[in-house]
Structure formats: C-alpha cells, structure tokens
Amino acid sequence: MQSSNVRRKHFWQARDWTDWLFSILLLLGAAGVYANYQSLMDGYEVFFLASSVVGFSLLGWFWSPIRSLIAGVAALSLSAIALYAGDLSLMQQKFLLKFLISSQSAVMWMNVLLILATLIYWLALFRKSAFTGKLATFLTWSAVVMGLTGLMVRWYESYLIAPDIGHIPLSNLYEVFILFCLITSMMYLYYEARYQTRQLGGLVMLVVSAAVGFILWYTFDRQANTIQPLVPALQSYWMKIHVPANFIGYGAFSLAAMVAAAYLLVDRGWGQKLLPAKALLDDLMYRSISVGFIFFTIATILGAMWAAEAWGSYWSWDAKETWALIVWLNYAAWLHLRLVKGLRGNLLAWWALIGLIVTSFAFLGVNMFLSGLHSYGTL
C-alpha cells in the first residue's frame, strides 16, 4: 500500500542483522563465562549475567556505537587478563601492562585523553573546524574505552590480590569518580550524535575535567587508587545497581547544568554564533534532567532497599540519604515548574546550574563535611 519509507517501523522490525550479531556475541560471551565459572556463581550472579546480556543488547540496539565500545573494552580487558596470567606482580614487568592497560595506566590514559578532548573541543569551537571537532569526539570516545577498560581490569586485579578481596570497583570515591567521568562523557556523546551539538563539548567536558582533576589529586596526594577490601556493609548485590544508577543521575544533572550554562550564555548574547539555538538547549536540558530524575529516583529507592537489608531500616535520615532527598526534591520542583506551570527560559536554566551545586554537595560535600552511616568514602 504505502511505500516502505513511510511505514513507521516497530521495535522488532527495526532490528537488522548487525543487531542480532551483536546480541549473539554477547550471548556467546556470557555462555563462556557461565561455562568457566558456573561452579563459583550463585543464583544472583547467574541472573545478573543473563540480565546483562539483555541489558547490553538493548543498549546496543538503542545506540549502535555502544557495540564497538563493548567490543573494544572486551578486547583490551581480555588482553590485560591474558597478560597478567594470574600474577599481579607482572604489572610492573610487562610493557603493555605497565604503560597501557593495567588499571592504573588505563585510568591515567583516560584522564589524559579527557583533558585533551576538552581542550580540543574548545579549539574546535573557536576555529569552527569540523575536523578538529571530530577529533575531540574521537578522543572522548577513546577516553571512555580506556576508562572502562581500567575499571574492568581493576575488577580483575582486585581478585588477584586475594579472592576474598575481589569486588566490583564501585566501592569508594576514587572508583565512582571514574564512573562519573565515563557516564557523563557517554551521555554527552549520545546527545552530541543525536542533536549535532558538538559546540557544547567544551562546556560539558569542563565538568568532566574537573572530575579528572579530582581523580589526579586523589591519586597523587592521597594514594586513593590502591584497592581496599570491602567493609561488611558494602558486601551486597545492591551495590552493583545502586551505585551506577546514582551516577547516571549525577552525570545527567551535571550535563544539564552545563547545557544550562550554554543557554545562559546564548541568552546574554554571548557565543550566539558559536553555540546551538536556545530552543535546542532548552530541550536538551529538559531531556537530561528527566533521564537523571528517573535514574536518581530508582537509585534512591534501591538505596532504601539496600539500607533495609544492611542497616535494618529503609530510611535512617543519614546525611547522604537526606541530601539525596533534597536533590530529588530540587529536580522534582524543577520538573513541576516546567511541566505544570509551563515555565521556560532563564529561571529554569539558572536553577539547573545551581542544581549542580546541590548535587555536588550530595555527592562530595556530604563525604567531606558531614558524618553518617555512609562514611565509606570519606575524604
């Protein structure tokens, strides 16, 4: 009847052979893990493994660069594992490990690449050079590959120290800052591809660079990069989902704040020719805050469920919990104003920007200035 280009494709129809190939590879990988480590896995772990196949499939279908990312990270991580061959001391002896893909080095590469990417985004902005812009995007992607590899390898290294010390690297400030850099960069890359907003790169990557600065300080001044065993309260499956969900929230809010900054600049007539139009910025800000809000809600709920199991109460008004609530209320108010009152423009942009301060306080300030049950990542 109608030509096919008019037909709106439905979910399953939209899958092409690359989608299926990707999923089959994921499935094979998971099957390999299962075959090798079945005896060490409990029900939860099998469930997590299976869900990760589904989850990553959906992610890869939804946004195709994820596939190359996963393939790259898998290749690098597996090489690192092969090079280690079960002996942590090889970290200092094998060239590739020492300088490229031991977790320390990979994270350092991520740091360097992120800073470089930030600089080049700015350069591209002022030179209005498309090529330079592409270079910046490429660098950001490379940083993400290195950072993710760093986390994966760190996970493995922790088991090499001692099997009972091994744990997923999401347990202290150092590790979650890496996660923050990765998530914020990736979210930005997604919007960049979808909305052609390379001009925003410089601004957004400022937050990421600030986080990199923190990682560097934390590494060199505090030696926070050493792998520490988990205290009993953290030995829980909830950590694996609660922490990433939280950081998707933080990342999205940070992204929104930087978009808001761009909005305010354009609104004042600065960089109008360089930056995207206000309407687009406004939309981006909204999208980013809604994604953040959903994940933050989920994260808080997961946190409550975890707290119920670990501390005996789903809500103890501990400082971190309370500040999570404040952050949540802050963005709930933002969304109300926009959705219910139909408010747009300046005020919301300022609000989103100042929201970053509230968010950072919940994220860092609480650890620095307040004490409570959540004092695992004290500064």
């Binding site: 709106r8 809000f293 119920a308 670990a310 005996g312 789903y314 209320l329 709930a332």
Partner: protein, 653 residues
Amino acid sequence: MYFSKKLYELLSSMRFAVSVLTVVSIASIIGTVLKQNEPYNNYLIQFGPYWFDFFKMLGMYDIYHSAWFLLILLFLVTSTSLCVYRQTPQILKDMRQYREHLNEKSLRQFTHQKSLAYSISTAQAQAKLSDVLQQHDYRWRQETHADGSVMLAAKTGNYQKLGYIFTHVAIIIICIGGLMDGNVPLKIQELLGDKVVETRDIPVSQVSEKSKLSVRNLSFRANLTLPEGSRADVAFERVRDGYMVQQLPFTLALEDFRIEHYPTGQPKSFESDLVIMDPELKQPLKQTIKVNHPLTYKGITIYQSDFQDGGTDLQLNAWDLTGARNQPVKLAGKIFQQTQVGEGQGALQIEFDDFKKFNVLNLSKDIKAKPRNVGPSMIFKVRDSAGQAKEYLNYMQPLNLDGQFYFVSGMRATAQEEYKYLRIPADENMTLNSFMLLRAALFDERQHEQIAHRLVSRLLPEAHRDAQTTQKFESSVVQLLKQFTQGGYSSVARLIESSVPEAQREQVAKTYIKIINVAAQEAYQMALQQHPEVQANKSLEDKFLLDSLNSISDLFFYGTPFYLSLTNYEHHEASGLQLTRSPGKNLVYLGSILLVMGIFAMMYIRERRVWLLFKADAKQVLLAMSANRKNHDFDQDYEQLLQRCKLALRSEK
C-alpha cells in the same frame, strides 16, 4: 462554607505543596548539619544551658521524629491527597474523551494545524489517513458533524495522564508507610501521658510499666547487645536522651559471635549464631546472621548491626611509678567491671571500659604505608576518691614507632580531648623490665649518695678531686637527682632558672643532662647487680637511655601512680543486634514501584491528540495536533505526521 472551600483550595494547591516541601528540605538540611541523637551532654557543652533548652524545645536533637516535622509530613500527605482528589476526575474524563465535536473554527486556533488538499475520493482519503494514524499507534473515533463534514478524532499516549495519578498516589503511600514506621503511635501515647521515656541506667526489672512497650507494638526499631552465651527477651528502643523497653515475643540467645578479618586487619564479616526460643516452636530455631543477611521471625527482623566487648577477662601487671619497687603487682580485671586499688583518701577505682582485639593503625608518618594490625588494646578509667576520672588507652604490645619499639598509653581527661601519649621504650625482650628497673633504681633516694659517689671518678677531673670539691659535687648530684625524680626535666629546668644567671643557663643545662645520663647508667648497673632475678638488658644503649629518661620525665604528667600493662586476656564478645518491625515497609516499596512507573509514564509516554476534519463540500482535510506537553519532539512529531499524511494523500492507489 466559604472558608472551608478556600482552605481546600489552599491545601490542594501546588503553591502550598511547594512551600511545605521547602520547609521539609530546610529541616532536613539542619538535621544533617547538626548531629542528631548525640548524648544530651554533648549538646549542653556545645550550646550552653540557655540555647540547649531552646533547641531541645524545638526538637532539634531528633528533628526527624519531632512532633512538628511529623506534622509537616502529615500536611504533605493531606495536600497531595487533596490534589489527587481534585485532579483525578478530570483526568479520567479526559482519558475517555476524544473531543470529536471540535469544529473547524476551534481547530484553526491551534498552533499546529494545516489544511491539505487531495484529488482522490474522500472515502479513499479517509481510508489512507486512518492507515497513517494506525501506524502511528493512534486510536480514534469517527463522527459525522451536522454540516456533513467527517471528523476523525484520534489520540495516542493516553496513559501519560495516569502518570500524574501514579506519582502522586505513590507519594501519599510512601509518606503513610513512613509515618507508620516512624514513631507516630509512640508520639501520640507520649503526648497522652501513657508512655514515659526512661533516662536512668537501671536494670530492666526496675523499669516502670510506662516505659515498656508491649509485644503488640505495631512498629519499632530497637537495639540489643547480647554477650556470647547469654539470652534476652527485651530490646531497647532509643528515644531522645533515654530509652523504652520493647518486649519481644520470643527469647533470643547468642551462641557464638565471630569476626573475620582480611589479611590487612580490616574487618571482613561479623556473624552471630542466634537461637530463637518460642513456646510456639517445637524446636529452638537456630540461624546465623551477618551484615546484609538478616533473619525475620514473627514479623521482626533481626540485623547484625555492630559488636561490642562482652566482658573480656583481663590479666594485668600494675607497675608502681612512684617508689623504688621494680616488680609489678598482678591484677585481674573484667571489661565493664571495676577494681579498687589503695585505700582511704588515696584509693583509686579502675573502671575497665573496652577491649579491642585488633587495632589497625598506620604508625609510620608516611601516608603511603599501609595500616597494620598492632594487636589488642584496652580502655579504662581511673577515678579518684573525689570522683574525677582520667581515661587511658593502653596497647598490649609495644608499637614500632620510627624503628624503635615502645609501650604506648594514651591519656585524656575528657572524652572531647585527643589522647596524649606516653611512650615507654621496650627492651630487647620486648618487656617493660629494663625501663622499670632503671626507673626504680633512680627513684630510690637511699641510693642517690652512692650514685653520686660513683660519678666522682667518672665526671670530676682528677685535678679537682680534693675533699671539698668532691663533697660539693656529690651533694649537688644528689640535689639534682632529687629534683629529677620528683618532677622530671621541667623540675630541673625550674631549678636552673632559680639558681643560675641567665648567661650560663644553657651551659649548666647541658652539664646537668650529662650528669643525669651518667647517673642513670650507674644506677642501672647497680640495680642489675642487686636484682639478678630481673630479666633485663645487660647495658643501656644511648637511645634507650634517652627515651627512658624522657618517659620518666613524662610520667609526672601521666596522672596515675601506676602503669597497667596487659599480659593476657580471655576474649568475650557481644553482638550488637537491631530488631525492627516495620509494617510500613511494604507500603513504601509499593509506593516506590508506583512512583517509578508514574514518572516513566509522565516523561516517556508522549500524549498526542490529532483531529482530521474532512470537509463536506471540498476535497480538503484539516489536520490539527495538540499535546499537553509541548516540547521539541512535539514539533517533530507534527512535521512527521504532516509529511506522511501528504504523502499518503498523493499516492494513487
């Protein structure tokens, strides 16, 4: 009537909700800045009596359970409920409607509308456009208007509106669940005077019925410290500066408590082997719980929350620090118990407060070094007959500080202070023997003259050894030793300040220190000969001597006339358990699920309405679109639909 309507409008308005939420936020922030539920004495010290009472009245020390905070939450529930009550009928009505009666005039008012002409028959056009609508997941209703025109009123994303109901009902459910589990019922009973908080530290049997909570208590969160081998059928709920006794519907016993450690000494897991005894059970229920793995029985969940000492037995050596005794007295102690030493006015009471089997410390100044386990420690207080107490923290084993081993004891007068540390050098055998031998020998005034006599040959140049000078020298050495053994270096310094002109003080100080050093050596050698039974270093190295003299000097600030060293112990632990009954939890979880579903619906279901008005007299269709959220994607959707409709109308078949 008018008033209640106004009140209803106010309470259900968003402005009111936002104000309430702002107050909640501010109160919450205060609660995170001001430490909650500290001992009231701390607040008293922090704020002084006037402000202490004022803040106490405001409930600042437990904001989240204060009456006004709960009241605000209640307001929040009311306001949100009224809002839902007010909005829901309209929303449900909206969800059912297609608004197929809209006419051309009103459609023309829309921001997104356009007329499309077509050449195919109207029936064909209707069929094709219905197809397009179908592909875009629209549902529609068809209606022929009075003027003969045909209306296709369509909509999609109907459930977005449910999002509002879901989120707001979720908030209400969560708040109700939370209020149930907060101590609202208790609060009410307290206000009515039925319940009174107990603040005295007395045995459970003496607690009055008014401070006891029955087995039927709907919700509670109580704590229980259970030593190994003991049992209990009550737990303690902390309320402000006191507690309530919660009766349990079973008896709980602890068979064993275990801590496992990582090689670095950090704790790896805490586990308790619990036994639940209940007449309703055929056999006692045995289960091991640990952090993150609680046990639920009869609606009460038992958590491993922390651990404590359960009355460890200590064997101690008490070393006299004042006289000439060089041997310790054996002493037995038990954590949470007391012993008396001495009698009458000078009697001292030792209160053993805590024992730790593991202490993970980073002793080196280099922060890169890893913390290590330095072995057991104990905390005790020494109270004099006037009731004044000092607190001590003693490590059992000598600690390695900058390459040398020392016995370390921390002392402080109040809990707010940092410990000040006394370090006593350990000898070759890692004991206190050598130091104590030296100290006792120096403190034995009967020996001072003999020591002085021995020094003559070592320090006095031969040319000056006439009777008079020797006599003078000896008496000044005796004088110096007396000063040193009565007040340490500071006393010697005072001696110098009072008797030596300023210009010569430095020179004299050097000489005095030299004399004390050599005297100490001599005293030590003499003591070794007199006490062959003491196992001690055969000679004193310079560093050891220096450290010893320093710590002898520090002893005068140590605050007790004896040093307690731990020689052996039998560890008894107690498990810290938390027992909760929280019927609101399921409500909170239900609300949480609703909340997430609702937010998803509100943000990710795109609600759209489309009207296609086929004119009766012309080959023209008016397309109009609206949405209750007009974002960027609304424009896109409109453009897309418009293009597809145009394409569909153009195609022949």
